[in-house]
């Protein structure tokens, strides 16, 4: 009963975050137009590359698959909520104290809000991106099992990214500003996660290292699963995502515990 009650609280937070996200249409238009520009530029880029290579496959993907891969990775990347800056602001303004007296876990509250936010943003991005990809390169074959595999890897990808950003936000207990760190984090995810270039295009020496890092689980794994699903890749992804989530959660727990020791609350 208590668990159900507690879960419904967090679900309600997700729901309200999702609804409020829809209210800011200008931000949605901004994101979608940016997505369209990136897709257009990369379509031109890949067209040149495929024409020069003389092959219909680069990095194991056809041109339409490459564009759809980019749609998925971009949709995930651009759907990221500003968790780090929110946590940073909580710490800096002292709003954290208000959050702590609520009958909710601080991290859990942020997670619910971020997930509600992200699901809506991702759905919009994916819809717009898919329409653009359909217009630019046409459809690619998608199977029901492939779609299920993609949907299995997606929540863990969102969770991992949330934990990474939450950790950056908690650094506000020690740093004057975490905006720089957040920028570096997002660029690390972009580069090592294989957002623009599928990992198969990276130098052979780097590929196993990048696949083992958590960043590939955030972008590359769902992207490949969407365009080229395989059971082997699914098993690998679940294993890496599971391990990465466990490590990130442990880090969040430790950092939050240490950070709370530094928290002083004044009345007023």
């Amino acid at each position: 009963m208590t668990i159900t009650k507690s879960a419904s609280r967090y679900l309600w937070i997700s729901y309200t975050a999702a609804r409020s996200n829809l209210a800011y249409s200008s931000e949605v238009i901004y994101r979608c137009s940016f997505l369209a520009v990136i897709l257009f530029i990369f379509l031109r880029l890949w067209k040149v590359v495929y024409a020069a290579s003389g092959s219909d496959r680069v990095g194991g993907m056809t041109l339409p698959q490459m564009v759809w891969y980019l749609v998925v990775t971009e949709a995930i990347y651009l759907s990221a909520p500003r968790v780090a800056s929110e946590v940073d602001e909580d710490v800096r303004t002292g709003r954290l104290a208000v959050h702590l007296i609520r009958p909710l876990s601080y991290a859990g509250g942020h997670l619910s809000r971020a997930m509600g936010d992200r699901v809506v943003r991702f759905a919009i991005n994916l819809t717009v991106g898919s329409m653009l990809a359909l217009a630019l390169v046409g459809p690619i074959p998608i199977t029901a099992s492939g779609l299920v595999m993609f949907l299995v890897t997606l929540p863990a990808a969102f969770l991992l990214d949330f934990l990474g950003m939450f950790l950056i936000g908690l650094c506000a207990f020690w740093l004057e500003s975490t905006s720089g760190l957040a920028l570096i984090y997002t660029r690390t995810v972009m580069m090592f996660g294989g957002m623009f270039l599928p990992l198969a295009i990276y130098p052979a020496l780097l590929q196993p290292v990048l696949k083992a890092l958590p960043f590939a689980s955030m972008l590359s794994a769902p992207g490949v699963m969407f365009v080229n699903p395989s059971l082997l890749l699914l098993k690998e992804s679940i294993l890496i995502q599971g391990a990465a989530v466990a490590v990130f959660m442990l880090m969040v727990g430790v950092v939050q515990f240490v950070a709370m020791q530094r928290l002083f609350s004044n009345g007023g």
Partner: protein, 270 residues
């Protein structure tokens, strides 16, 4: 007449130097935050260099463009952006918001011309990271000779003029459309995005757009063409383009200023 103009120019250079000193002193009150933002932007730009390094490792030539050309493109764009908004931080995202929120009054009360004075009013810390990155990558990676180095320095200033002009133009939309900050940011960000990819990817109508509505051609394509050819003619075309963008921005601002209505908002200069 000429002597008066020269005195006025020198006077504004002094104002620029004073504001730079004041803005930097304000930023350095929070040294950790300032340096971390500068470093983060340097690393952010570096991530794109890594992307192009990886790309050219796999696909060595892109429609006649080599890695060196793309590095020049990134160097001149980031250096220009950094100089523009390091010196005139209010010309970036703040511009449209300040107009929409009726914050121009404070700047109108001073004996200086409103536009340059307002532009100089703040600095963007991360822009210094861009400026440093542009120069480091050009001198460290492209390894220019003396003529190329001199051309790069001139072009980085030319690109800065384009950025300031375009910032004024997009920000001035708030005079005509109300709060146009999102549209302004969108327009500018899309232009910058196009400017950081080789122009050989685009042709036909898109190229026309890139020299008109989306002035990526003036931000990077013309300057890089000048660097590649080392031609004075190309340099003059780039300079003319920059002056054109700046003039469009100034005209949009002063026409818009006529429509500006003062409110009863009490505000302070940040």
């Amino acid at each position: 007449m000429e002597a008066k103009m020269f005195r006025s120019f020198v006077d504004y250079l002094r104002l620029c130097a004073s504001y730079l000193r004041i803005n930097m002193n304000a930023q350095l009150e929070y040294r950790g935050a300032f340096y971390s933002q500068v470093a983060a932007m340097f690393i952010n730009d570096g991530a794109w260099v890594v992307f192009w390094l990886l790309f050219f490792t796999r696909f060595p030539v892109l429609h006649g463009w080599s890695l060196k050309d793309v590095m020049s493109l990134w160097a001149v764009t980031t250096a220009g952006f950094g100089i523009a908004f390091g010196l005139m931080g209010n010309g970036h995202r703040r511009f449209a918001v300040a107009i929409a929120q009726g914050e121009l009054e404070i700047w109108m009360l001073h004996p200086r011309a409103v536009l340059p004075h307002f532009l100089l009013g703040s600095t963007i810390p991360s822009a210094w990271g861009d400026a440093a990155f542009g120069y480091v990558i050009y001198f460290g990676f492209v390894k220019p000779n003396v003529q190329q180095a001199a051309m790069f320095v001139v072009l980085s200033i030319v690109v800065a003029v384009v950025f300031v002009g375009f910032g004024i133009l997009t920000g001035s939309l708030s005079f005509y459309l109300g709060n146009a900050s999102t549209l302004s940011d969108q327009w500018r960000d899309i232009s910058i995005t196009f400017a950081t990819y080789p122009p050989t990817l685009f042709d036909g109508k898109v190229k026309v757009l890139l020299f008109t509505v989306i002035p990526a051609g003036f931000i990077s394509y013309l300057p890089v063409q000048s660097l590649r050819s080392m031609s004075i003619v190309d340099l003059l075309i780039a300079v003319a383009g920059a002056i054109g963008v700046l003039a469009a921005g100034v005209v949009a601002f002063y026409f818009g200023l006529r429509r500006y209505e003062s409110g009863n908002l009490i505000s302070m200069r940040e």
